[in-house]
């Protein structure tokens, strides 16, 4: 009775968004409302107790946002999605459901600089301790395990670029210790990689990047893979124990394989508050419909630009996992067979000085702190995105002083190459 799984491109257009049953509106409407009327007091009470399905307040659910949540959950092969105001908010909400004060988690050293700061400094203020592990050797995660570790966090294709993490090997180590693996899949997108298929339990996205794709809306999303047994022991009380704020409801027992997503929503979004704006949800949803088309072009352009740079005598090195001489080429073939993404780094022989001159001279590349836009972007991470890190942390994260990061857009590749060529002087 199993039917053929629809193609990714079909899911990207249709998942979550049937026509409006009342008006027939084909495109998902923007439900720009804060709140929703109740049928009566009993209906309201049932909604507040999570005993029936329905909307109360846009901080918790919104019909436009819900379509985006279901869309991305489907594209990732997950059970449910929870959208947040940003990728950082998504990380906060996900960890809030897993961690108690004094708990620990292991995170890869190869992360977006903002995540390194969020984990190392802001999470520490909540009593959540991060233990860093270099993902180039997955055994580092085994060595870092403690009894208080509640999660493992990695980026599959890591920012600022060129590094691919061995998701399956790290998932196995996490599961040996009965902790979930969380993968930030922002740079790969579900089109290039589905971490759940390789053993991840939770996927996080900054939807601000490729999923929205047009650089116009902040957004984040958490995907619940639906497979982790939160009730196997008492280490995840937020999910398995009676919740006093819902009169003793147990999230995992009540909602089964989307219990984690419901806890993120009904506790994290409710109490910490970073809901996604319905208008942003609409823009990101529209972007998601063309995700496969854009990713094909992003990846093809990135490979052309990376090959140009590798052959250029002004360039010292290029770190792009799609190049055959990359140390991550093998992992890229395994996890990213459709392309190694469009974000990567390189350095000029002229070092820091030549790099900053290049950033000043480019014309089509926009100098800004974002990635995953249809427009090509350029930045010097050490002075910007990874600015809060020590030089040692910057180098460990692949963002040393001479590093230039590119986010290749969907323009004509030849025009991008010509722009870099003239800017390198």
């Amino acid at each position: 009775m199993t039917e053929k799984k629809p193609d990714f491109a079909t899911l990207a257009v249709h998942a979550g968004s049937s026509p409006d049953p009342v008006t027939g509106a084909r495109v998902t409407p923007i439900y720009q409302t804060t709140s929703y009327v109740f049928d009566d007091a009993d209906h309201a009470a049932q909604l507040f107790n999570l005993q029936t399905f329905g909307n109360i307040y846009t901080r918790l659910t919104n019909p436009t946002t819900a379509v985006l949540e279901e869309r991305i959950a489907t594209l990732e092969g997950g059970r449910a999605g929870v959208a947040c105001a940003s990728g950082h908010a998504a990380q906060l909400i996900a960890f809030h459901a897993l961690m108690e004060e004094g708990d620990e988690f292991i995170a890869s050293t190869r992360l977006y600089g903002g995540s390194i700061t969020q984990f190392g400094q802001t999470f520490a203020k909540m009593g959540w301790k991060v233990i860093w592990a270099d993902p180039d050797d997955p055994e580092n995660f085994r060595r870092a395990m403690t009894d208080r570790v509640k999660a493992v966090f990695i980026e599959g294709l890591a920012n600022p670029g060129g590094v691919v993490t061995d998701i399956e090997a790290i998932a196995d180590i996490a599961h040996e210790h009965h902790v979930p693996l969380i993968v930030d899949n922002t740079l790969a997108t579900p089109y290039l990689c589905n971490p759940l298929q390789w053993g991840a339990d939770i996927v996080i996205h900054s939807a601000t990047k490729f999923i929205g794709g047009h650089g116009n809306s902040m957004g984040g999303i958490i995907i619940d893979g639906g497979r982790f047994d939160w009730s196997a022991d008492d280490r995840y009380p937020t999910l398995s124990a009676p919740n006093p704020s819902y009169h003793g409801l147990r999230f995992h027992e009540t909602f089964g394989d989307f219990g984690f997503a419901m806890a993120c929503r009904a506790l994290g979004l409710r109490d910490l508050g970073p809901a996604l704006s319905p208008f942003n949800a609409f823009l990101i949803l529209t972007g998601s419909e063309t995700l496969p088309l854009r990713m094909e072009k992003h990846c093809a352009n990135a490979l052309k630009v990376a090959e140009f740079l590798r052959q250029d005598e002004r360039v010292a090195w290029v770190s792009y996992a799609g190049l055959t001489d990359s140390p991550y080429y093998g992992l890229a073939q395994k996890y990213l067979p459709r392309g190694a993404g469009s974000i990567f780094t390189f350095g000029l022989k002229g070092g820091y000085e030549a790099g900053t001159e290049l950033v000043a001279r480019v014309n089509l590349f926009s100098h800004l702190a974002n990635i995953g836009d249809v427009r090509s972007l350029i930045i010097h991470p050490a002075s910007t995105t990874h600015r809060q890190l020590s030089e040692e942390q910057q180098i460990a994260a692949g963002a040393g002083p001479d590093v230039i990061r590119l986010s290749i857009g969907i323009e004509g590749a030849d025009d991008l190459i010509a722009d870099l060529d003239q800017a390198m002087g």
Partner: protein, 160 residues
Amino acid sequence: MNHDSYSDSYIAGILRDCRTIAMVGASANWNRPSFFAMKYLQGKGYRVIPVNPGQAGNEILGETVYAGLKDIPVPVDMVDCFRKAEAIPAICADAIDIGARVLWMQLGVRNMDAARQAEAAGLKVVMDRCPKIEYGRLSGELGWIGVNRGILSAKKRPLL
């Protein structure tokens, strides 16, 4: 019968055909899943008859509670089991005896022997699912909380 994956039409057919559901293990506690699943299904037009020996003779949500399936004085279409897997064979035998057409085991509950026995007697079987969640999934309501319903449709009308 593959009990790892049910087609939407199989589940929708069951939820469309059945009108009277005996809920074994129904709780009188307003904050237990069986209580609010019962309430939800009542709201969708089903008659739900609670079965719970400890509550026999009392009422839950306006319906008399019976000690066992065989005590129910009206025909039952579906038996929904809020009980652990070990309790299912006895419930299955009673479900066959009273002429139920569907044996449904709740989220987390699977018993292959009982499933085979029920199927041999002509009953349809669903395991490890919740009829409330399935109703919500096929009617579209589950999408309101961002759950992947596994449904693609360009039709206005939902499956339920």
